[in-house]
């Protein structure tokens, strides 16, 4: 006895059911992805602002690569600095001891950590440049040649670092992720030289103030001068028994240096320290720069590495110290030694005396009796980049000079000396030394070529200590393999770093460096 209610249900429900089943969600089998908060290269790089943002990402990698692991590898394994184990601090898997003693292997903590990061940081820069270069190749853009030149120069910089650390590497200009074999070191050198030379044509001499920090012709010339002065090493071959030097390029180094030196907008500052302060963006001495801001992700923070916990707030980590023989090598009258903190210590902001964590007046000693169990105060400390008054937390806005005019003078001096023009070389060195001593203490003009060579390398250390140059310098000078403070005589193949095992695993076509 169906009621009218159940009759109407009998009709309505199947009808509703039918509607519900037929109206399936739109695109019921459409599985194309729709990204929202991320975008794809197809819908980007369409105008100047977007290209500028793409370039900014490549420049940001210049910041990462220049002061990251590359700088560590140029200073800790070299005779600039040491990171001793201090109580519970800084053992870190033994990696710092490995760096000091040159005991790294392809699969050791240093290789899987710092060396691997140096590899990926520079190659990430290459890949970012490649994405931009490939995306804008066929687009009609204003300033396209200049944009292409900037990206190519930055890519060449990353390749320069890779070649310096590892020798020949895969040269890639497309965006495909694929295993590729290594080029020879000479071929990598030639690629960098060509890229820099071609990029130079489309780069400006200077930028308006609103674009300070972008690449100029000066960047190219400084990099070329450095490339040529290292040519014997960079174009040589490394076997398990060591480095076979390639032909020198002294005259090319002089020519490239001269192009920088003839640019009147660059000049040495009266006070060397002006190149490191937070306002160093106004320094006329800086040729190639990694520009920084006192903001997270854009800043410089060397204070955390070296200063004692109680010298600054937020608390630094009390790590990196100057190797005692290096500190002692400085002339006590050399003003540049003032950037190394020694003796009783103060808070660097308030200048109030500080104690160590044991409550004793903090005193940085020159000597470090045992690098496996150092005290809080053992070792003198680099404090070349002073704190930024406008800092936020640990973020300081001091710019980092990749090349300064002083180094260009020293490159030219080195090349001149190698060509037998020792007197001219000493004159240039004395130009750089002049501001470091009052009264002046110039090098004697009577030095032999060999004496001058030693003096120039020493001068480079006095002038450029802590600036990420020393490993390359020691290899070029031939002091890299010798026994030195807390380091035994080295295996000859250590002039190249091992390719980290993780990278060999990822790319089976990568041949390991000889000896490793």
């Amino acid at each position: 006895m169906p009621t009218s209610f159940s009759r109407s249900i009998r009709l309505a429900v199947p009808a509703l059911l039918a509607v519900a089943m037929v109206v399936t969600p739109q695109g019921c089998t459409d599985l194309a992805e729709s990204p929202f908060s991320v975008i794809t290269p197809d819908n980007f790089y369409r105008n100047d602002d977007e290209v500028r943002a793409g370039l900014a990402a490549v420049y940001s990698q210049l910041n990462t690569a220049s002061t990251g692991n590359l700088r560590y590898l140029n200073q800790i394994p070299a005779d600039d600095e040491v990171i001793p184990v201090r109580g519970q601090d800084w053992f870190d898997n033994g990696a710092h001891l490995e760096a000091q003693r040159h005991t790294w292997q392809a699969g050791s903590p240093l290789a899987l950590g710092t060396i691997n990061s140096a590899w990926t940081q520079n190659f990430t820069g290459v890949a970012r440049a490649n994405v931009l270069l490939n995306a804008i190749q066929d687009l009609p853009l204003a300033n396209k040649p200049r944009t292409l030149a900037e990206a190519r120069l930055l890519r060449a910089y990353f390749y320069y670092n890779l070649m310096d650390l590892f020798g020949g590497v895969p040269i890639v200009t497309d965006v495909e992720v694929a295993a590729r074999a290594r080029e020879t070191r000479a071929a990598t050198y030639a690629f960098i030289e060509k890229e820099l030379t071609e990029a130079r044509n489309d780069l400006p001499v200077t930028w308006p103030a609103a674009d300070y920090g972008r690449a100029t012709k000066g960047w190219v010339d400084a990099m070329l001068a450095s490339l040529y002065v290292n040519a014997e090493v960079f174009t040589g071959t490394v076997t398990a028994s060591g480095l076979q030097k390639g032909p020198p390029q002294w005259q090319k180094a002089i020519d490239a240096a001269d192009r920088v030196l003839s640019n009147t907008s660059y000049r040495l500052t009266a006070d060397q320290a002006a190149n490191f302060r937070a306002d160093n963006n106004t320094s006329p001495e800086i040729v190639m720069v990694s520009a920084r801001r006192p903001e997270a992700g854009l800043s410089l923070n060397f204070i955390s590495n070296s200063l004692h916990y109680n010298q600054f707030s937020p608390s630094p980590n009390n790590g990196w110290s100057v190797e005692p023989p290096t500190y002692r090598k400085f002339d006590p009258e050399d003003k540049r030694r003032a950037a190394i903190l020694e003796g009783p210590q103060f808070n660097i902001v308030t200048a109030a005396p500080v104690n160590d964590r044991a409550g004793v007046r903090l005193n940085f000693t020159i000597d470090i009796p045992d690098i496996t169990q150092a005290t809080e105060g053992n070792g003198t400390r680099m404090y070349k980049w002073p704190f930024d008054p406008a800092r936020t937390g640990t973020n300081h806005g001091n710019d980092y000079a990749i090349y300064r005019l002083a180094e260009i003078y020293l490159i030219k001096a080195e090349a001149l000396n190698e060509l037998g023009r020792t007197a001219e070389a000493i004159a240039l060195v004395n130009l750089v030394r002049a501001r470091a001593f009052s009264p002046p203490k110039p090098l004697a003009t009577s030095l032999t070529q060999a004496q001058a060579r030693v003096a120039i390398f020493d001068e480079r250390q006095f002038e450029l200590i802590d600036e990420g140059k020393r490993r390359t310098d020691q290899i070029r000078q031939g002091t890299w393999l010798a026994a030195s403070w807390n380091k035994s005589a080295d295996v000859p193949f250590s002039v190249l770093m091992p390719i980290p095992q993780s990278q060999v695993d990822a790319n089976p076509l990568l041949e390991q460096n000889p000896g490793y």
């Binding site: 009998r10 429900v13 059911l17 089943m21 037929v22 399936t24 969600p25 019921c28 089998t29 459409d30 599985l31 992805e33 729709s34 990204p35 991320v38 794809t40 977007e50 943002a53 900014a56 990402a57 490549v58 940001s60 210049l62 184990v85 109580g87 519970q88 601090d89 870190d92 898997n93 033994g94 490995e98 050791s108 899987l112 950590g113 190659f123 990430t124 290459v126 890949a127 895969p170 992720v177 295993a179 930028w207 308006p208 609103a210 674009d211 920090g213 520009a291 801001r293 903001e295 992700g297 707030s313 964590r357 044991a358 409550g359 496996t372 169990q373 990278q503 695993d505 990822a506 076509l509």
Partner: protein
């Protein structure tokens, strides 16, 4: 792929014609009553089913049932309920008449339900050919259950549940037959009332300085609403869930209303939790004595004495507390013949044993069902909504470098007080060792001063329509939506050392997840002579969407705003401010056929075709098939009269997948992030943040399962034994890519992992009398996991060690031939005369290709290098056991649950870092065990085999004693009240020296067995009552 509209259109059409045809069929009804054969008491909630039709009813509390609109004919009617042996009676239905059938059930030892939820339907237990376990909430919801996952602990063989830590609502690692994936998720699929749940975090996890793991998203489900949990373990059972079934499926069925008198119940308990173990650090007197001794011996500077105060503070005791919990739950249920309903409301308030931590849940649930058209149409509706407030501590899951509560609890100088009175103002304040961002902070102050709160709201609703197109063909629709919104807010006040350097730091993170699901499917039942068949086919669509946003500001004028007025902060932290959205879809077609012959031979075949938007363009679709069979030997004539009341062998094979990767993983995408300074301005860069992988496809797990189910002694003893092998191939693995690449790695399908295991289950009903019942259960499992291949990668390092001086130190290696969770490091051999740690030194032999061919021991070394590293432990247990018992004697009842896990290694990262006397050089406290340790005061903490401890344990998980009676009041006539006392984690036997060997610290890919400063596990005692009205 064509849309299934045509299929559905045809379905709708069939439905119309069937509706029209229906009126002619002559029908009758079946009615009857189910009682306990011994006591003759009525049994409610019994499933009464007509064999081969899927038609059925559930008995009321008076044991009665009614089945209407049954086409005239002869039937076999089965009555089955948990704890009873099923019974079948023949019945003949005549048109327009009512047939009566009575059941008298006998209690059985088995705890398995008779009708088992198997995904898109139910199946009789005898007909199940795969590996399926069921847990009844009546038995498992004892003690303090915050989330339903706890109910599985120790009750299902092959399921391991590790709560991340002892914090309220802590996340869990649920592993069904072991974790098989390295980069993708190993968590099972959760299905609530037929709706697959997106079990991702509902609240932003780590925020600011609090690097906590997500809390358990299932805390949003009130355990009292749960009827049963069914775990599908093997691939033949989970294949119907295809791409989401590789890690097993946990199906939660909620309680519903029944025909009969309305029921009103009230459940409540009050609990007290206290720390179950302590980490022994020096007390004030011991610390003073140590420092004075070291100063006298010249190993510590004289000035060290100045840091000594005159107090004797136990920081662990100051920070931990006895914490209360209360739970209230009201439920009403009832219904008439065609309408049933149930509603519940609950409040749960749990305080953590660490100051200022806790969880508070309010939840409401309502469900209703309606039958119409002579029971041919069945409508169902479920709605669950809940709100969970989480109060977090900094940091409850990992230690962090400095600053967190647990770090400072261990290192804070015990000779100093918790609070001091300011000499100038006379106001009481927390003691700190100095002003501003000091390196060691008062942990009580951190807990009290830092606010870190989360509030999540989740609504889960679904509506179902079942329609019998023909008497043996049913169409079903299930439409569901699951929406959650979680807001996490934190404020680090300037008064705290944690907020001093930023002048106050406020952070807010918001996360919203939406999942919409539509399932439509047809089920056909048929039987002919001794053959019975059930065929199922359908379509499912899931759409997932996640939206998030973040806000942070620093430099506040006052702490008074807390996180409630971010605009009061002078400096907006643009690095943290942001928002994001991601979507993905899963589209599926599935089918299953069950075939039974003579109720002895069963065959199940299932296939699912899944399409996921998350994979590469050519690999979005995959097919997951499965086949399984069982043979009821005890039904054969040759077995009659033997010892076995039941004996069944079964076997199956199936393929599952995993799609648990983030959306867009196959695409090259650009993101904002790295900036550059142009002209002293930060220019936001846009760059690729993912390497494309157009070949990205499903991770596939193939699983074999064989097993035996047996019953002895007329069903008094039952048990099962199962063996499985799981091979996971095309592992979704994050691997380094050849450089140059925009980022160092990408997700690829590389390598394989193998899991094999044995599961054993035994239940005994030792006594079964009218007033006395005693049953015991035992389960055990053995699981072996091994990485078979990682493609061209030799090994992956994982398990990062936490703590000072441990940067870059890894404790585990994933490598072929070894289990996931293999510890890798130097072997500790002792201490030299100078108090320096010595490690075994090895020479390594290599062949011409540079591959290692052997290691030989060669003396000792102070600084172990790569050659000295080797395998030093395995975080996986050799085996695990669970035992439980239940006793009912008259009005009393009692139960216990014991769990044991044996042979697993645990890295005691806490001891590694805090067993260092050298802490005293910095006025920091340390673990008492270091006092007798020969290691010198100047020595760093070095990871080695010394810190790998045996993590075997036996834990008395729960003991409950209850008493049931009827209150002498009018309203309780015919109903009962039960009061009980229950204790959780009462005893633990272990040689492990940390808080708890069952801890989880997230520290890298597939890492396990690492314990670092985890929130301690409480011991809980509670008093509860269950009242019926």
């Amino acid at each position: 792929m064509r849309c299934p509209r045509l299929l559905l259109g045809a379905l709708a059409h069939a439905l119309f014609s069937a509706a029209a045809a229906h009126a002619q069929t002559p029908t009758g009804s079946i009615t009857g009553r189910v009682v306990d054969s011994t006591s003759q008491q009525p049994i409610g909630n019994v499933n009464v089913v007509i064999d081969g039709t899927g038609r059925g009813a559930v008995t009321r509390s008076d044991g009665g049932f009614l089945l209407r609109a049954i086409p005239a004919g002869s039937y076999r009617v089965r009555a089955a309920r948990i704890g009873f042996v099923a019974q079948t009676h023949e019945v003949t239905v005549a048109a327009g008449a009512v047939a009566t059938v009575q059941f008298g059930l006998v209690t059985a030892a088995t705890t398995l339900t008779e009708l088992v939820v198997t995904g898109y339907g139910t199946q009789r237990r005898e007909a199940i050919t795969g590996s399926v376990s069921t847990v009844s909430a009546d038995e498992a919801n004892v003690g303090q259950v915050t989330a339903p996952t706890q109910m599985l602990q120790g009750r299902v063989a092959g399921v391991s549940i590790t709560q991340n830590n002892g914090g309220p609502g802590a996340g869990v690692q649920v592993r069904i037959r072991g974790g098989t994936s390295i980069s993708a998720s190993n968590e099972p699929l959760y299905v609530i009332d037929g709706v697959p749940i997106n079990n991702t975090a509902v609240e932003p996890t780590s925020l600011g300085q609090n690097n906590s793991l997500p809390r358990n998203p299932l805390t949003l489900i009130n355990p009292t609403d749960i009827e049963a949990i069914t775990v599908l373990k093997d691939a033949s059972a989970t294949a119907i869930y295809g791409s989401r079934g590789a890690n097993g499926v946990v199906q939660i069925t909620t309680r519903r209303g029944r025909e009969g008198r309305p029921e009103l119940t009230y459940d409540t308990y009050t609990g007290w939790s206290s720390p179950s173990r302590r980490l022994d650090v020096l007390d004030g007197d011991e610390y003073r004595a140590f420092v004075q001794g070291e100063v006298a011996a010249g190993r510590l500077a004289q000035t060290r004495l100045a840091a000594l105060g005159s107090d004797n503070t136990d920081w662990e005791q100051a920070l931990l507390r006895t914490a209360g919990t209360q739970s209230h739950n009201v439920a009403f249920a009832g219904g008439a013949a065609n309408t049933q309903y149930r509603g519940s409301l609950s409040m749960f308030d749990q305080h953590g044993i660490v100051l200022s931590s806790g969880l508070q849940r309010l939840s409401g649930r309502i469900n209703a069902s309606q039958r119409a058209m002579d029971n041919r149409l069945r409508l169902g509706f479920n709605l669950n909504t809940s709100q969970v407030k989480n109060d977090y501590v900094v940091s409850e899951n990992t230690g962090g470098f400095t600053g967190t509560v647990f770090t400072n609890m261990l290192i804070m100088n015990p000779t100093q007080p918790v609070r001091v009175t300011d000499a100038v103002t006379g106001v009481e304040r927390f003691y700190e060792i100095g002003t501003g961002a000091v390196p060691v902070r008062n942990p009580v102050a951190i807990a009290e001063q830092v606010n870190d709160d989360g509030i999540s709201r989740r609504t889960l609703g679904n509506a179902t329509v079942d329609f019998d197109i023909l008497s043996n063909l049913t169409a079903q629709i299930n439409a569901a939506t699951d929406r959650s919104n979680g807001v996490r807010s934190a404020y680090y006040p300037k008064i705290s050392p944690l907020g001093a350097s930023t002048n106050g730091d406020a952070l807010i993170g918001e996360l919203s997840n939406t999942t919409n699901t539509l399932q439509t499917y047809l089920t056909f039942h048929g039987s002919l002579a001794a053959h019975s068949v059930e065929v199922l086919g359908g379509y499912e669509f899931n759409q997932y969407s996640t939206v998030s946003s973040n806000l942070e500001a620093q430099s506040f004028i006052t702490d008074a705003f807390s996180y409630n007025n971010v605009g009061a902060g002078a400096v907006l932290q643009s690095g943290f401010v942001g928002s994001g959205r991601s979507d993905s879809r899963l589209v599926s077609f599935f089918g299953r056929a069950n075939y039974g012959f003579k109720d002895r031979y069963f065959l199940t075949a299932a296939v699912r075709r899944d399409g996921s938007s998350r994979f590469g363009s050519g690999n979005k679709w995959a097919v997951f098939p499965a086949l399984s069979a069982s043979w009821l030997l005890s039904g054969e004539n040759f077995m009659r009269g033997g010892p076995f009341s039941e004996l069944r062998i079964k076997g199956g094979y199936g393929l599952n997948g995993s799609q648990e990767i983030s959306p867009y993983s196959s695409l090259i995408t650009l993101g904002t992030g790295p900036r550059a300074s142009f002209g002293e301005t930060g220019v936001v860069g846009v760059s690729p943040n993912r390497n494309p992988n157009p070949d990205l496809k499903w991770e596939q797990t193939a699983q074999w399962n064989v097993g035996v189910d047996y019953g002895l002694g007329g069903g008094r003893y039952t048990g099962s034994l199962e063996y499985y092998v799981k091979n996971t191939n095309d592992l979704l693995l994050t691997v380094n890519v050849p450089q140059p690449a925009v980022v160092a790695d990408r997700l690829e399908n590389i390598g394989s992992v193998r899991n094999a295991g044995l599961e054993y289950l035994f239940d005994a009903r030792l006594l079964s009398r009218a007033d006395l019942d005693l049953s015991l259960g035992l389960l055990g499992s053995v699981e072996r996991n091994s990485v078979v291949s990682l493609g061209k990668t030799a090994f992956i390092t994982s398990g990062g060690v936490s703590g000072q001086g441990q940067t870059g130190q890894m404790s585990q290696r994933i490598m072929p031939g070894y289990a996931l969770g293999t510890f890798y490091g130097p072997e500790y051999v002792g201490v030299d005369a100078q108090g320096r740690q010595l490690f075994a030194k090895y020479d390594v032999q290599k062949d011409a290709t540079g591959a290692t061919t052997g290691r030989t021991r060669n003396g000792e070394t102070l600084t172990p290098t790569a050659n000295d590293y080797g395998v030093i432990g395995n975080a996986n247990p050799n085996f695990s056991l669970g035992g439980r018992g239940q006793l009912r004697a008259g009005r009393f009842d009692a139960s216990f649950l014991v769990r044991g896990v044996f042979g697993q290694d645990v890295l005691n990262n806490t001891a590694l870092v805090y067993s260092t006397k050298g802490n005293a050089l910095q006025d920091k406290n340390f673990l008492k065990s270091a006092l007798t340790d020969p290691i010198g005061i100047t020595q760093p903490a070095i990871f080695s085999s010394r810190w790998i401890e045996d993590g075997s344990f036996v834990r008395l998980q729960n003991v409950t004693v209850g008493y049931t009676f009827t209150l002498p009041v009018a309203w309780q006539r015919g109903h009962t009240t039960r009061v009980y006392v229950s204790g959780d984690n009462l005893l633990m036997k272990t040689s492990y020296t940390g808080y708890d060997p069952e801890a989880f610290t997230s520290s890298g890919l597939a890492s396990r067995g690492i314990d670092y400063l985890n929130y301690p596990n409480p011991r809980t005692v509670l008093l509860g009552a269950h009242l019926e009205f």
